[in-house]
């Protein structure tokens, strides 16, 4: 099982060991943190990731797959270099987030089923309408990868997309 996976970088394995050590009572608790580590390093959760994490934690692959399909932040396909998350929930909606989302779609050309993340034709952007990002006082709120932006109106959308191009 573990042997069939191509060698993983040493520093990654060290991070995995450190993470597992945070859960002295039950290794299974490390499932979510290891999924985060994998996704941050390799971009998405592949079948290989599921098998490897399951083996590392002495679980069946289904125990990992059921997490990946439940928690909205895990993805089973690569995303664009820039993952744009626009908050859809009430306070942001009152503050204009639907327009912000539409503007991001227009400028990046992202199309597809809007119930999930959608990609731009060049694959550089993945745009997603997400639920509450917990900054309701400064709507509309946007995250691009791990960076957080407040009061993102049409002008700011243009600026942010332009900056991604630089």
């Amino acid at each position: 099982m573990i042997e069939s996976v191509p060698a993983l970088p040493q520093d990654f394995l060290a991070q995995v060991d450190e993470t597992v050590s945070h859960y002295p009572v039950s290794k299974r608790s490390a499932a979510l943190p290891l999924l985060h580590l994998w996704q941050e390093r390799f971009g998405f959760i592949s079948q290989e990731a599921i098998d490897w994490i399951a083996a590392r934690l002495e679980l069946q692959p289904i125990h990992i797959l059921e997490l990946v399909t439940f928690y909205p932040m895990f993805r089973q396909r690569p995303f664009g270099k820039f993952h744009i998350r626009v908050c859809r929930t009430l306070s942001c909606a009152l503050g204009g987030s639907y327009q912000t989302f539409a503007h991001f779609k227009k400028l990046t050309g992202a199309t597809g089923d809007e119930h999930g993340p959608i990609d731009s034709p060049d694959g550089r952007f993945t745009v997603e309408f997400v639920e509450c990002l917990a900054s309701c006082g400064t709507p509309p709120v946007v995250m691009i990868n791990n960076d957080f932006y407040e009061k993102v109106d049409a002008n700011k959308v243009e600026e942010l997309v332009r900056r991604c191009g630089e």
Binding site: R28, S29, H63, L67, F70, L94, A134, P139
Partner: protein, 445 residues
């Protein structure tokens, strides 16, 4: 003269030059309360928290002292765990973010004291996945605290050991429900557990007694121990003690987070004096007072509540929306709740059908799917509301919507069922003609 804030938790957060590192925290007297606490008997600390009448800041407003008292060190033989609920995800709420980003050591100090008081040696901070920066800041703060021996083995020579680790969620609202959070921390889908028997205080994390407290609650513990329970209880009102961070969003001139003594001001004062009034000088239409799950309050309605008068006798009072004091008991008395402190304001231009459709879409997305009434019902509510909002409906649809909500609430394992139903029930109770008008318009056309 605007009402002055009383900043206890956010005292330093926005001061120029105040940074989240430990040196800055120590310069401002940080960890001195921990030193004091370590020299005190844990039972005494628990007693101070009980005396303080501190109520949980996460949503339910449950007494913190009572929650802690469920774990009896004399009877318990298993390890006790403490989890800080930093899964801040109730729409309208953005206070924990401020604490974590700007004053993380205050949270850690409150948490370490709480762990010592309850004989906890392993604790976790469950932080929502969408706070990657917050998680980094907390990791850094934990490392600093370990380096100074505020954490780890034999803390400050007291013989007490404690470790705290960060655990990141991954975008699921249900993880804010404490038993769902525990399941998630065990590496599973966050399906809430049924109570009884799975009360966290009895069968929590790894089937051991577990305390789950909100970020703001744990910060308050530090202040309770610093000033003593009785002194703390003098802030605010009886049974509604301390300060509260209120998060205001929606149609006000100055949205944001503000900290006041609990019940220290009315909803009207908050909106008009603190937040500069309704946006554009428009009229107020409705307020959701405690996060999107709390029942909506209509601006032109009169509310009857029973409260103690100056002589200490109970008397019935009639209040307008703007006269409601912002404390736990008053908001419950008018049929809503103080919840997580997220106040969402809507002005006269807002379409209540659209607003409720938005709220229901959130709950449809976030239902964990464990209980049938919720899993199926929230989707039906969302679909019905989209149909009503688009005008493709009959007046009967409004009744169906109400009946779906009535059949979810009270029939699910966790309070999500109520959280999803209360907005629907309260919007229909207050604004039903708006919903029916959509259908009438279709019929007329």
């Amino acid at each position: 003269m605007p009402i002055a804030e009383r900043r206890l938790i956010l005292k330093y957060a926005d001061q120029p030059g105040y940074t989240p590192d430990i040196e800055c925290y120590l310069k401002h007297g940080g960890y001195s309360v921990l030193k004091k606490a370590l020299a005190t008997e844990p039972a005494t600390l628990k007693d101070e928290v009980k005396k303080s009448q501190l109520r949980g800041r996460g949503g339910a407003g449950f007494s913190c002292g009572l929650k802690w008292s469920f774990i009896d060190p004399a009877k318990n033989t298993k390890p006790v765990y403490l989890i800080c609920n930093a899964d801040e995800s109730e729409p309208g709420t953005f206070k924990d973010r401020q604490i974590i980003h700007k004053d993380p050591h205050q949270l850690l100090e409150g948490m370490i004291i709480s762990c010592f008081a309850n004989n906890v040696h392993l604790a976790y901070i469950y932080i929502r996945g969408e706070f990657p920066t917050g998680a980094k800041i907390l990791e850094q703060a934990l490392a600093e605290a370990r380096a100074k021996n505020f954490l780890g083995k034999n803390i400050l020579g007291s013989g007490y050991d404690l470790d705290i680790f960060i655990h990141r969620g991954a975008g699921a609202y249900i993880c804010g429900e404490e038993t769902g959070l525990i399941e998630s921390l065990e590496g599973k889908r966050p399906y809430p557990r049924i109570k009884p028997p799975y009360f966290p205080a009895v069968l929590g994390l790894y089937m051991c007694p577990t305390i789950v407290n909100n970020v703001e609650t744990l910060c308050n513990v530090k202040h309770v121990i610093e000033m003593g329970g009785e002194a703390y209880a003098k802030i605010g009102k009886p049974n509604n003690t301390g300060t509260r961070i209120l998060c205001v969003s929606g149609d006000v001139e100055r949205p944001g987070y503000y900290e006041f003594e609990v019940g220290g001001l009315t909803l009207g004062q908050l909106i008009h004096e603190v937040c500069g009034g309704v946006k554009g000088g428009r009229k107020l239409k409705a307020v959701i007072p405690g996060g999107s799950s709390s029942k909506v309050l209509r601006a032109d309605k009169r509310f009857k509540i029973k409260a103690k008068n100056a002589a200490g006798e109970m008397e019935e009072k009639e209040l307008g929306l703007e006269d409601i004091p912002l404390d736990f008991d008053s908001l419950a008395a008018v049929g809503s709740m103080a919840g997580s402190g997220g106040v969402i304001v809507m002005d006269e231009t807002r379409d209540m059908v659209e607003v409720l459709a938005n709220i229901s879409e959130f709950y449809a997305h976030e239902s964990c799917g464990q209980c049938t009434p919720c899993r199926e019902g929230v989707l039906w509510m969302k679909k019905l509301l989209h149909r009503i909002n688009a005008g493709h409906c009959t007046t009967a649809d409004v009744g169906v919507l109400n009946s779906v909500a009535d059949n979810i609430a009270g029939r699910t394992i966790c309070a999500f069922g109520e959280a999803a139903s209360w907005p629907v029930q309260s919007f229909l109770a207050n604004f039903r003609p708006d919903f029916e008008a959509r259908a009438e318009k279709v019929r007329a056309a």
